[in-house]
Symmetry: C2
Subunit: 401 residues, 2 copies
Amino acid sequence: MQEILGGVCAPKGFKASGIACGIKKNKQSDVALLVSEMPAAAAGIFTTNKVQAAPVLVSKQRLQKGTARAIIVNSGNANACVGPDGMLSAEKMAAAAAKMLGIDEDSVLIASTGVIGVPLPVEKIESGLAQNQGFLSASGGNEAARAIMTTDTFAKEVAVEFELAGVSVRIGGMAKGSGMIHPNMATMLGFLTSDVTIDQQLLHKALQRAGELSFNRITVDGDTSTNDSLFILANGKAGNKKIATVDKDYQIFETALIHVCTGLAKMMARDGEGATKFIEIKVSGAVSEVAAVQAGKSVANSNLVKTAMFGEDANWGRILAAVGYSGIDFDPQTTDVYLGGLLVCKGGTAVNFDETKAKQILSAKDILITICLSDKSQYEATVWTCDLSYDYVKINGSYRS
Amino acid sequence: MQEILGGVCAPKGFKASGIACGIKKNKQSDVALLVSEMPAAAAGIFTTNKVQAAPVLVSKQRLQKGTARAIIVNSGNANACVGPDGMLSAEKMAAAAAKMLGIDEDSVLIASTGVIGVPLPVEKIESGLAQNQGFLSASGGNEAARAIMTTDTFAKEVAVEFELAGVSVRIGGMAKGSGMIHPNMATMLGFLTSDVTIDQQLLHKALQRAGELSFNRITVDGDTSTNDSLFILANGKAGNKKIATVDKDYQIFETALIHVCTGLAKMMARDGEGATKFIEIKVSGAVSEVAAVQAGKSVANSNLVKTAMFGEDANWGRILAAVGYSGIDFDPQTTDVYLGGLLVCKGGTAVNFDETKAKQILSAKDILITICLSDKSQYEATVWTCDLSYDYVKINGSYRS
């Protein structure tokens, strides 16, 4: 497997682009369109928030048939909490894309991100698409990735190439999200493409596992949006023998998909609102993978840990305390904590560590926190987050206005 | 019932004081002692964190017999995560108080708050007490309340007087905590005194209910410390007929205790680290009290809601989203949200509200957020928190050093 360029357009048979329809100010691009030449197996996973935006509801319903051709995404407006009109706007947005592409309306999936509680100006998307016929391109991945950005400071794209029984197969992806929030709270969105030939249920299975190990293991502020969505389209154009069971080919595909999703997820954590540090938290020796994730997320979501990292303060007590209130079953007396390679807490007790060395480790942009709960249990997990800075408060203190 | 002065010394038969033993820098007072003239019924509730400090473990064990005479508290050092020496230090600290007071060691309860992972210099407490014989006073409540402070910006005391069948009874209390954290993460500590005559099990029952409705309903940053403790001593000196069943007298006592605890808890939220706003969140129409609390705490812990309040931004979408991911069962389509008296979201949908009026409401120091989930369910709860400001990041970014 090797990383390649091209984002969502890296796999065969996909085109994409991004245009400015006037939803965002200053002529920034705000609508992305992603299309497969042929019908593709399709799967999606969505926010668990009880409050779900119209595009989530519409896309979920459309994914029931397991195939799709295109995805249209707008930024600048979440089309959430606007009453029954939201569903109508979501459908109109898809219809406009279908019309331009000459495909069925219900083969178009939808995502939105941006301010909530404000009606989506869907007529701007309709006229924008009408004025931009033929704007799609096989090299438009980056334009699409830029059109879905909100507070993101950089476009997030990953693509890989690998072989299945001698046949070259590709997966591409793009994502947005930096705080899962702005403007108003917004959203993590991820879009994956592949030219693999695969059974739709296995595609869904691989997406769930990859999502679990990547997007579900990052946290910037613990808030979950009304719009979070992750889609995959697999159009089969690579020509590999169809993956129809959980065999070796499936494992290779899943591993590649996890690589793409993890890459995108880590970019999101790195681009967390106001972030000055990227923090990787490894938890080992847990009684289950679920427990390892729960402990890691408790540490990742602790404002006290996040501000300590911002302040480059080797405050391991906050790390241990966050594991302590995570709700998992563990023994503090067998728990060790490392900052980078430096042991700072052994068996739940302070270690007389080198403060200069600790300061040096914490002054780096990337910080690794390792928490070994026990040498008796074998489960582990890694989660990613960023620090909590003055800029996070600044960015989120005055967003809607 | 009326509020009175005196804090923990307001009830009959209690003395207290605070002295500087040199644990904190700059000769700030750092040891508080609270004593009842006679053995008192005693109860306590403690942190649910799996990592528990030595004073918590010792006090829990001593409370099993249901009576106590005194409580010694130090600030500036949490006596947590220091290995087996921590237990020894906790016991020595109690022994020093017992010796000075001429009472049994195991009738002395203990609490500590401050930096963790650093051995408690218990010899400073021992010599401090030896040099300050006779420093206790029936008007020393405020001195004690100041000696337990860490990052608190003001001492927190409440006391009330009420009648049980014509007999005047008092409850006093003091607390510390502002972020439940500093320095290192530290702690919420609460100490209650009463001259009521009451069965120990009923005292414990009332303490649990009052703690649940007050200290368990505030959150500054969601972090739970290794040292959180709430104690009550009831010495019977008021001479009321002993409360031995859940009767009218019990209800009057419990109501008064809730009043004292709620008063102290609200002071803590108001004094949250870096706080510029005090936020009260009322959730009604929930399917249970537990659900109402869960929804309220989800909103109270949301960094997005807290930064919006700091920025005086009427960002109700973040409030609705936080209820949405709280995990409770509710219907967004019947949910209304108010800021102060202003309806900003009706049935999960945006309302065209007066932005000037909203700005005016949010510019106040005290902000009320009301969330009505349904008019079909009757359970409700109130939680309290504060906003998330630049100063929170500043205070917590550079604490240990």
